[in-house]
């Protein structure tokens, strides 16, 4: 364990570790004894049908829900037990793409994306503008620099939100349903971008999704969730060859068969 206020990026190969996480809301068990890990520099996909508890896991990992002392370790820390300084440091190292986008409607796309840079660094404004334009170019939204979120389509909003998530070059990128609302071509190019970021910057990516085509393209490891329990954890190849009816059906139907 690191004792000082700084969060060390690479404490082990396991950037995320979850041990026996249980979540109960209104006497309803959402997650029961969930344990898994995500290796650094890999794309880990949490998959499962709707209501299986995928988003709840993500919220625990981001410290939005409290968790027990040793249940969760993200970047070497338990995200729900950080003091103020640690919290700031912790969230600088995580980029999050939310399912419902969560861009601030009163700011332009560029202002939204520049927000973390402006708040956390002292970079000159010309430099920040270049960074913002670069990230917009990466998600193919160059022309939306001055637009407001309300002027963008669903897919464009998703891409703008991804640009905001990667503006700080975070070592950990978490995406909640990145593919929903996107056309197949845009989805493929986003997947390509995520793989590129992983390969070139060595970032770790955690994706919560049920888009099979996307999973097949990018996942290194897969964690399969069913009714709050993990029924499989391992590489994508292992998952595809697994003899479990739920997993089989998921991949089979997801491919459009």
């Amino acid at each position: 364990m690191i004792k000082s206020g700084t969060v060390k990026t690479m404490t082990s190969d396991k950037l995320i570790e979850v041990n026996g996480l249980t979540a109960i809301f209104d006497e309803k068990v959402i997650l029961s004894d969930v344990s898994f890990h995500a290796n650094s520099g890999e794309i880990t996909v949490i998959l499962g049908s709707s209501g299986s508890g995928k988003t709840t896991i993500l919220k625990h990992l981001l410290g939005l829900y409290p968790s027990g002392e040793d249940a969760i370790s993200v970047l070497g820390k338990n995200p729900s037990q950080l003091d103020e300084a640690e919290e700031k440091q912790f969230y600088r190292q995580i980029g999050v793409l939310y399912q419902n986008v969560a861009l601030l409607n009163s700011l332009t796309v560029a202002e939204n994306i520049a927000l973390p840079l402006e708040q956390h660094t002292d970079l000159p404004s010309g430099f920040i503008e270049k960074m913002v334009r670069l990230k917009l170019q990466l998600v193919k939204l160059q022309d939306s620099y001055d637009m407001y979120p309300s002027q963008l389509s669903c897919g464009m909003l998703k891409r703008a939100a991804l640009a905001r998530a990667i503006i700080m070059d975070p070592p950990l990128l978490c995406c909640d349903e990145p593919g929903s609302g996107l056309d197949p071509v845009t989805m493929a190019s986003l997947d390509e971008l995520i793989v590129n970021l992983k390969d070139l910057l060595g970032i770790t990516v955690l994706i919560v999704t049920h888009e099979v085509s996307s999973i097949l393209r990018i996942a290194d490891r897969a964690i399969f969730l069913d009714e709050g329990r993990i029924i499989f954890e391992g590489t994508l190849t292992e998952a595809l060859n697994l003899d479990n009816p739920t997993v089989k059906e998921f991949f089979y139907k997801g491919r459009g068969n």
Binding site: M131, D169, L201
Partner: protein, 370 residues
């Protein structure tokens, strides 16, 4: 490779070559840029080679910093080249290269007169024309819906009449009573000083009937219902409810606004009369306690100074005010563009503009009916 400890970025200037080494990420960029800026302040050569051989890690901020340097020195007439760098660094330089087209602002520069003209046109089209168009629409539907099957839910008119009118009785009544009281109180001392005590009745009655009653009522209703109309319509628009109504074949103006208009126009005159009566009652209390004018004398004097004309003008005013409040609320509600913050803004604007219009209309009608 990832866990290898990397030293922070450093640089070295040898003749024409700027060697950057170590790790260049978001954390180091700012310091490095300012250090290089200081070092190269008096750089005179027209060639600069940025050598990246010693660099073992770079992220997108680092790449942006390299291009930032290149652009900066190219602007000063220095020709800049990049040399060296591992394969991975080269790939990142390629992936994170900002295309030139992306650098251009999407807005074209406009001349002063063009800007002035287009703002004037925008102002006229958006505000004045838009307001009158909506006002005409609402008036048309409000009148025609009186004579045919209405397009609102059953009981909606009744609901609106209760919300705009009945629920405001207490607050409007209380405010008028207090204002009548204060008005009489302030005048009492002056009137007493030259023995004109009885004129407190004329003063209170005329002021309340022709000015204060309708005005206080309209301002209270603009604050209560003008804001709620604007917020309701704005929220409906933000959440696409108005679109949903339209695609169900329901005109949002007829469905949402017309019942409010009817409710407002019917109830505001009654509210105004309640305000008049309670305001005069406030004056009566002061007349009795401070100037020793008994209620009987007060009412007797009131019969002499109160004309039917004043009452009717007060009622006409209140109808006009109701019309203005509903139209302003609706207009600003429909003007909403995006998100929660905008709903707040248009609501505030609706109240401010509604109250201003009420006061302007009051002074115009005051001149006409004088």
């Amino acid at each position: 490779m990832l866990r290898r400890e990397r030293t922070a970025a450093s640089f070295l200037l040898e003749d024409n070559t700027l060697r950057i080494s170590g790790k260049l990420s978001l954390k180091e960029v700012n310091q490095l840029l300012s250090d290089i800026g200081n070092k190269l302040q008096n750089y005179t050569s027209d060639l600069l080679i940025i050598n990246l051989d010693g660099l073992d890690y770079i992220d997108s901020a680092g790449v942006t910093a390299i291009y930032y340097l290149i652009d900066k020195y190219r602007e000063n007439g220095v020709s800049v080249d990049i040399a060296g760098g591992s394969n991975s660094i080269r790939r990142k330089l390629e992936l994170f290269r900002l295309e030139k087209s992306g650098l251009k602002g999407s807005r074209l520069k406009t001349g002063f007169f063009e800007m002035l003209g287009s703002s004037a046109l925008y102002l006229f089209n958006e505000y004045i024309l838009g307001f009158f168009q909506l006002a005409a629409d609402i008036t048309y539907w409000s009148v025609t819906d009186l004579f045919r099957k209405q397009m609102s839910r059953k009981g909606e008119f009744y609901n609106q009449a209760v919300q705009i009118g009945v629920n405001a009785v207490l607050i409007v009544g209380a405010m008028s009573f207090i204002i009548g009281l204060v008005l009489a109180l302030q005048s009492a001392a002056q009137l007493r000083s030259f023995g004109a005590n009885i004129y407190i009745v004329d003063l209170t009655v005329i002021a309340m009937m022709s000015e204060m009653g309708p005005l206080i009522t309209a301002i209270m209703v603009a604050g209560r219902s003008g804001s709620s109309i604007a917020a309701e319509i704005a929220t409906m628009k933000v959440t696409s409810e108005t679109d949903a109504l339209r695609t169900m074949g329901l005109n949002p103006i007829r469905f949402v606004i017309v019942p409010k208009m009817h409710g407002g126009i019917i109830t505001l005159p009654f509210l105004t009369i309640i305000a008049d009566v309670l305001g005069i009652a406030g004056g009566l209390v002061i007349a009795f306690t401070y100037l020793d004018i008994s209620p009987v004398v007060f009412v007797h004097r009131m019969e002499e100074c109160l004309y039917l004309k004043d009452i009717i003008f007060g009622v006409i005013k209140s109808v006009v005010f109701a019309f203005l409040i509903v139209i302003t609320g609706s207009y600003f509600g429909f003007r909403v563009k995006q998100g929660a913050e905008d709903v707040g803004k248009v609501t505030t604007n609706a109240v401010v503009v509604a109250i201003s219009l009420v006061i302007i209309a009051d002074s115009i009608m005051g001149l006409l009916f004088y």
